[in-house]
């Protein structure tokens, strides 16, 4: 299984924000979509950073005046990007070791989606559950 099989059932919306927008706006977008992270994109919709609720919490704990700051001041620039053909095994283990919860996916330079660690865990669980189920059915039906 690969990243494409996750994106196929997520519609094609990725919630993005621009680097020059404020944290107040970013919080509004996070709340509106009930999500935990935004992809920061440039004019050509190329991902240049990530802004997660954790980034904001970390700043807010030190600086109460976080609201008017620009997204660019808080975002993570050290970006890991996925590709649709990447195996979920590799993706999952990289997300766990690097402690990444959200992975923007790029195809031919264009942002095509985002997968969360929850998506990866669910896809792998469904895959293993499916294998177990198939084997169980075969074993049970043979007994008849």
């Amino acid at each position: 299984m690969n990243i494409a099989s996750i994106l196929a059932t997520k519609g094609d919306k990725v919630v993005t924000i621009r680097a020059e927008q404020t944290i107040r706006e970013a919080l509004g977008v996070l709340a509106q979509h009930n999500i935990g992270a935004l992809v920061v994109v440039d004019d050509a919709r190329r991902p240049i950073g990530m802004l997660s609720e954790r980034d904001i919490v970390r700043w807010a704990a030190r600086n109460e005046a976080v609201f008017p700051l620009a997204v660019s001041q808080l975002m993570t620039r050290d970006l890991i990007l996925g590709a649709p053909g990447d195996d979920l095994g590799a993706v999952g283990s990289t997300m766990v070791t690097r402690r990444i919860r959200h992975l923007p996916v790029v195809d031919g330079g264009k942002l095509v989606g985002m997968v969360s660690i929850g998506d990866v865990v669910k896809a792998q669980r469904d895959q293993f559950q499916g294998e177990v189920d198939t084997l169980q059915t075969i074993v049970m039906e043979r007994g008849h």
């Binding site: 059932t9 094609d12 294998e131 198939t134």
Partner: protein, 469 residues
Amino acid sequence: MTRQTAVRPLRVAVVGAGPAGFYVAEHLLRRADLVVDVDLFDRLPTPYGLVRAGVAPDHQKIKFVTSAFDKVATHPRFRFFGGVELGKDLSVDDLRSHYDQIVYTTGAQTDRRMGIPGEDLPGSHPATEFVAWYNGHPDYRDLQFDLSQERVAVVGVGNVAVDVARVLCRTPEELAKTDIADHALEALRHSRVREVYLLGRRGAAQAAFTNPEIKELGELEAADVAVVPEEVELDPLSREALERSGDRAGAKKVQILQSYAHRPATGKPRRLTLRFLVSPVALLHTGAGGVGAIRLVRNRLTTSATGAIQAQPTDRFEEVPVGLVFRSVGYRGLPLPGVPFDDKWGVVLNEKGRVLDPDTKQPRPGEYTAGWIKRGPTGVIGTNKPDAAETVTAMLEDAAAGRTLEPVEPEPDAAERLVRQRQPLYFSYPDWLRLDELEIARGRASGRPRVKFTRVDEMLAALGNRRGP
């Protein structure tokens, strides 16, 4: 409507009677808290989708899963309408006026192309067509494959590619014990194939086949298995990836393949060679116009940002003479008439099984999808069960909230009248069970699991006047 009762049950049409369609039906019908009617449609007279038309005939055990589907079909609120095609016999609007909910489970019906010069030369075929042909799919039974060729390339190392290579290497005696279609058995009896190449783009560690599948290739009665020793050596990237993920099955897979490098040829009439780190770049023709050779580029492995291992072409090429090529580099879904399609992933445009409006990206009330046409062609048969469960959860949530279609004729009889009017020769589940008995009886005489009917006319004739519910 918020509660489905025996007086006004939730009426659901499921389009496509493969595993995904049956799992959707199963999840709906086993609900104790509400009454659901399921009508399952298929464009073929027979149910089971790829379990009948895809799973290899020499893998009968996997086909036992159909007994679970037959149990679903015994539910009094289940009906099957075989030989009825969406877009031909019925439209989405027809379904909308008879059902509260529609589920599309039509699978991935076409194959991906390699996108290389010579791909359409005579002698180059999608592996899926060969599979449908040897499994007796009525639409493919009259295809011709030039089995007088001695050398064959199968592009890909997934399940389908491995099945095709194995079937090509089987003896007529081995195949005669299976339910392979009669026309295919007869053609394969006269096969002159001697050399079969399975071509993998990435390394041995990344190949999609399972360990039982490659062991099986090493135990063929009339074919020696071979690998190119340097192609199955474990490269540093793959070694690191296997260690990091603790993937023991993957490590074992490489070991089995390496053991094939040291096997002496035993003089069996056929040879199956597993190649890795090669991609086809062109098919070259002979003077006569058919495929004469396949040109390959050697690949090396690199790691992507997420640690996934990828193949990168080098500047080293080779040509392998072959007269027949089967490509199996992936399946792809086909758009359904009147249903939003996501061209990028080759699936019905959906979010967790809810079909989306292409303009608003909001769910279209009452329309859902499951299986390969929802998520793309991944996983084994059973993977469709959790996948169908996700879709059914969304369906029941929406039904409870009153977000369904508003059919003008929700009565079960009205739907049946419509089908009868559009396709008088439709097949019911009792019809299928009768055909199933007849196929098994035909097989018993020759010691085979079954002898399949491969023409719709043949099926109609076999049922005679017994047809109908």
